[in-house]
């Protein structure tokens, strides 16, 4: 099993490396560079040459790639084009805020989705199923900015419980933007719950019709014990990968929701950086998102190995 994890890890590293190359080349291929962005209209003649000299843009691409990627390995993403701040600092708090938001949405959403999925699966085609399934689909189909706007309308404008817009700086202690945090994670929970719930529901139905559940019933195992001990662990296996995708999506910065609530997270920083043509920041955020994706999927793989004894020993035999 260890060999398998190492193999997956190596594969993940290769993926991250490939992504870094693509990001670097993509930015290279764009017309203009950091200096044209900084200097804007003054970007010509001597000023441009000097800027490039200072920022080391005249060195060959390979050298710059090695500098950049070497920096990432030590946690140094370089300087932002605007304001020449250290990107690591700029991103650090935003990343924390985005992680908090994701954790909030996941901490509530995943258990809730699994719970609703189990209930819907067990009461298939009866009212709890119909209620939860249609509810989840409904929640999923409302665009997030609409849901967000409605929540703001209700809680900020009608009820006045929270301010409609935060102007909290990114490095503020989390408690200060708690109201936005609640609203934003509610919207995110609504968005993601349907996928996971429907997956759990479908596999729960399949598992409950299976031979081993019938066997457990005829062995005299009480109903809820069958559900939790015999059926649920098996029903969760196919759901793990859907959950992993959801987690990766959440951690990758949820642009629209962060922008609507003016939430100081990674997604909003990305939007700002793009509109400012701050290419170093865009590169850095994209790298972070890529690493998150790879990492989360790796965890999901390991988790399904741990939960599925069949997969585990099959791989052992194969390895």
């Amino acid at each position: 099993m260890l060999a398998l994890i190492i193999r997956r890890l190596a594969l993940g590293l290769v993926t991250v490396w490939l992504v870094s190359v693509i990001i670097f080349l993509g930015v290279e291929a764009l017309p203009g560079d950091a200096c044209t962005a900084i200097l804007e209209r003054d970007a010509h003649g001597e000023a441009l040459a000097k800027c490039r000299e200072v920022m080391g843009l005249n060195t060959p691409a390979l050298t710059r790639y090695l500098d950049w990627s070497g920096g990432i390995l030590t946690g140094d993403f370089g300087l932002s084009a605007n304001g020449q701040e250290r990107i690591a600092e700029l991103v650090g708090y935003r990343l924390r805020n985005s992680l908090l938001l994701a954790a909030g949405a996941l901490g509530v959403g995943i258990p809730l989705a699994i719970f609703l999925g189990v209930i819907a699966g067990l009461w298939r085609d009866r009212w709890p199923d119909i209620l939860f399934s249609t509810g989840a689909i409904f929640a999923m189909t409302i665009p997030e900015f609409v849901a967000a706007t409605i929540l703001i309308l209700i809680f900020a404008i009608w009820l006045g419980w929270v301010p409609a817009i935060v102007l909290t700086p990114a490095d503020a202690p989390p408690l200060e933007f708690f109201p936005e945090f609640i609203l934003a994670s509610t919207v995110l929970t609504m968005l993601m719950i349907a996928h996971v719930m429907r997956m759990v529901r479908a596999s729960m139905i399949e598992v409950m019709a299976g031979d081993y559940v019938q066997m457990a019933t005829l062995k005299g195992v009480p109903y809820w014990r069958i559900v939790f001990r015999h059926a649920l662990p098996n029903a969760l296996l196919p759901a793990i990968n859907v959950i992993a995708l959801t987690v990766a999506w959440l951690l990758g910065g949820v642009v629209v929701v962060e922008v609507v609530f003016n939430y100081p997270g990674l997604g909003r920083l990305l939007v700002d950086a793009i509109s400012d043509r701050d290419l170093p920041v865009v590169q850095a955020i994209t790298m972070i998102v890529a690493i998150t994706y790879v990492g989360v999927n790796l965890v999901a793989d390991i988790l399904s190995l741990a939960l599925n004894p069949r997969l585990r020993s099959h791989q052992e035999r194969g390895a």
Binding site: D211, T217, L218, K219, G220, P222, H230, N234, P309
Partner: protein, 675 residues
């Protein structure tokens, strides 16, 4: 009836499901079943007869969608379907134990064996929790599992089929049951394993005075374990009586037909098929349900459902003429299998075929590690035109692997495959030319998987015709109909999809598809093992006709020795991918000389309570062949010494092309057989 009240008493039970139109479609019609303490009853029937439904109903359980319409299911004096869930949970797995059909799927895959057995003990055992671990070990030892300690720690998929079945038995025993319900518990197991499990069940039932309700389609199994038999047909009891009487002299025409459709080791004729099919749930039934298929049927039979009447030897039969039943068989003798002349030209030649599943990784190759022995090795076969060679052996013997190699689906590691005209076949399917592909066709075990459910029968058959012969339009249609006629289906089937066909019909379509290519060689991979015996007999009959009409050569793979016997000219007995014995079927079956062949043949069950199988070797499952010596060394009951472990046994010629690979001299082997 005097004596104590019965343990299980089912009276006039009707069970059904609601069809699409909203009408109730019954699957069981007023079925009675009484089981007394210590008694073992067999419930026999083909698929769809309702036998499993009946057994599960005895536990107060119906599969999803089924409902009880009327009748009583009394266990221990009270109606099962009226009990509260907690009460049912106490009885199920406690006094009433179930041993399921497929234990591999009936054990929860994410729980260790130990956890599952302890769960049963926790629910039903009076012992204090502290003693459960010891008790679990005892139970596994009771079902004759070696090394219980390690089995307890394993997950279900880490056990062989026989071991899983034993675990299921141990789990049922954990509740100290008064009665065991067994739902086809040995179907899908190897013959030797099956014989061992049945032996174990018989001993357990006797020593604990347990009642058993044994559901099976296999009369051979019933003959081994049951005192009485009840035969179900289309959800109705048609015959009930003592096992010996029912098997020797059945008082119902259906039972008679069923018995005749079972292929037997000793007979040289093909088994006789039962024509027609039973009515499905909800189909109109007037009079006797078996009348449309019955040779004795009269106007009286079609007028009203016959009552259960007393037949000979303590049997109760739902037939108006039980005394005339034995008239049926006399006049129609079974068909002779078509033989193949010895000078028939060659169709296919396999030389030194060796197949490996392992692919050494870069690391292993660099290290130069020794590779495990090949999965299949040293296969030389010479197939004549119009000949059938049977490959038999237990699961894992490599018989299907050889078919895959011939068809090019699995390229062999070494060896030559040559067609009759001397062309050496490329080893992979991709590198074969269409004409070479056409000449070898394959029929698979399960037609549900091998026929595309979205294509109509016409489309399925049109594919090879278009591909190999370029037929179109009316020529294509005419040929398709002709093919359907050869497999006795006919033009009405053209527009049906596989989902609208019965198992036997689907397999006929698969046969027709293979013959659409006009092949010289047809590879049959367990093609009858998913079918009911009566349907199997019809398919065997069909293959026999096609073989004679088209001079087609068959390689016929089956785990069922009797089926191979019925159809094959020559037989190869395989163990761990090596041929142990090869020769004309009559010789190999007549005087089995290789110890493994004897083990197999002796374990075969026959529908005769007076014939007991002889268990000569343990049913150990071996995962890989031994590196040196005889492949059968680890299980051989007559192993002659270290030479078996070190040297590959010589191919001893016994005349008529009969070859035995064994270190024991021929004369001595023969003496062992007779002795």
């Amino acid at each position: 009836m005097a004596g104590p009240p019965p343990l299980i008493d089912i009276r006039k039970l009707c069970v059904g499901f609601r069809g699409r139109a909203g009408a109730m479609l019954p699957v069981l019609h007023e079925v009675d079943l009484t089981v007394c303490r210590g008694e073992s009853i067999g419930i026999v029937g083909e698929s769809g007869s309702g036998k499993s439904t009946l057994a599960l109903a005895a536990m107060g359980y119906l599969k999803h969608g089924l409902q009880k319409i009327s009748g009583d299911v009394i266990y221990d004096g009270a109606e099962m379907f009226a009990r509260r869930p907690a009460e049912l949970a106490r009885i199920r797995g406690g006094q009433l134990g179930l041993i399921p059909q497929n234990s591999g799927q009936a054990l929860t895959p994410t729980m260790r064996i130990g956890t599952q057995i302890r769960e049963a003990l926790h629910l039903h055992c009076a012992l204090p929790e502290g003693e459960h671990a010891t008790r679990a070990r005892d139970l596994l030892a009771q079902v004759r599992l070696p090394d219980p300690e390690s089995i307890l720690r394993r997950y279900p998929h880490e056990l062989s089929g026989g071991q899983q079945q034993r675990v299921a038995i141990a789990m049922a025993l954990a509740g100290e049951p008064d009665a065991l319900l067994l739902d086809e518990p040995t179907t899908g197991l190897d013959v030797t394993t099956q014989a061992h499990i049945l032996d174990l069940l018989r001993d357990l039932a006797q020593s604990r005075n347990m009642a058993m309700v044994y559901v099976s389609h296999d009369l051979g199994v019933i003959a081994r374990v049951c005192d009485r038999v009840q035969v179900l047909y289309a959800g109705e009891t048609v015959l009930e009586g003592p096992t010996r009487a029912v098997l020797h002299d059945p008082a119902h025409p259906y039972a008679r037909g069923l018995l005749a459709s079972i292929p037997r080791l000793g007979e040289k004729t093909l088994p006789r098929a039962l024509d027609g099919r039973p009515p499905g749930p909800g189909e109109p039934r007037e009079g006797c349900t078996f009348a449309p298929r019955c040779a004795l049927a009269t106007e009286d039979c079609r007028a009203a459902t016959p009552p259960m009447l007393a037949g000979g030897a303590d049997q109760m039969s739902r037939c108006l003429y039980p005394e005339r039943v034995n008239e049926i068989t006399g006049d129609q003798a079974g068909t002779q299998p078509h033989g193949c002349p010895e000078d028939s030209p060659c169709a296919l030649d396999l030389a030194g075929l060796s197949i490996r599943y392992d692919r050494p990784g870069l690391f292993e190759r660099l290290r130069g590690a020794a590779r495990p022995p090949a999965t299949v090795d040293g296969i030389d076969l010479h197939l004549r035109q119009g000949e059938t060679i049977g490959l038999v052996g237990e699961s894992g013997s490599g018989k299907s692997t050889i078919l895959k190699a011939i068809s090019g689906l699995l390229p062999p590691a070494s060896g030559q495959i040559t067609l009759g005209d001397g062309t050496a076949l490329p080893l992979t399917v991709e590198s074969r030319r269409p004409d070479q592909l056409r000449r070898i066709q394959m029929i698979f075990q399960n037609p549900d998987d091998s026929l595309n459910p979205r294509q109509s029968v016409a489309e399925i058959l049109a594919q090879p015709l278009r591909l190999y012969f370029g037929l179109t339009d009316s020529a294509l249609r005419a040929r398709t109909v002709e093919l359907l006629d050869t497999v006795r289906l006919g033009a009405p089937y053209l527009d049906r999809r596989p989902g609208q066909l019965s198992g036997g019909e689907k397999q006929r379509v698969a046969v027709a598809r293979a013959f659409a290519a006009g092949p010289e060689i047809v590879l049959c991979d367990e093609i009858t093992s998913a079918l009911d015996v009566s349907v199997q007999a019809a398919v065997l009959d069909l293959l026999n006709e096609l073989k004679a009409a088209h001079k087609t050569a068959f390689v016929f793979v089956s785990h069922d020795l009797t089926v191979v016997r019925a159809l094959s000219d020559r037989v190869a007995v395989l163990y761990q991918g090596r041929i142990c014995e090869f020769g004309p079927a009559a010789v190999v079956y007549g005087s089995p000389s290789h110890p493994y062949t004897s083990v197999l043949l002796n374990a075969v069950l026959t529908p005769d309570p007076d014939h007991a199988p002889r268990l000569m070797a343990d049913d150990v499952t071996e995962l890989a062949p031994p590196a040196h010596g005889c492949p059968f060394q680890r299980r051989c009951p007559v192993k002659c010494g270290t030479i078996c472990d070190t040297d590959t046994p010589p191919a001893q010629q016994a005349g008529d092309g009969h070859v035995i690979r064994c270190h024991i001299p021929l004369a001595e082997l023969r003496a062992k057989q007779t002795g």
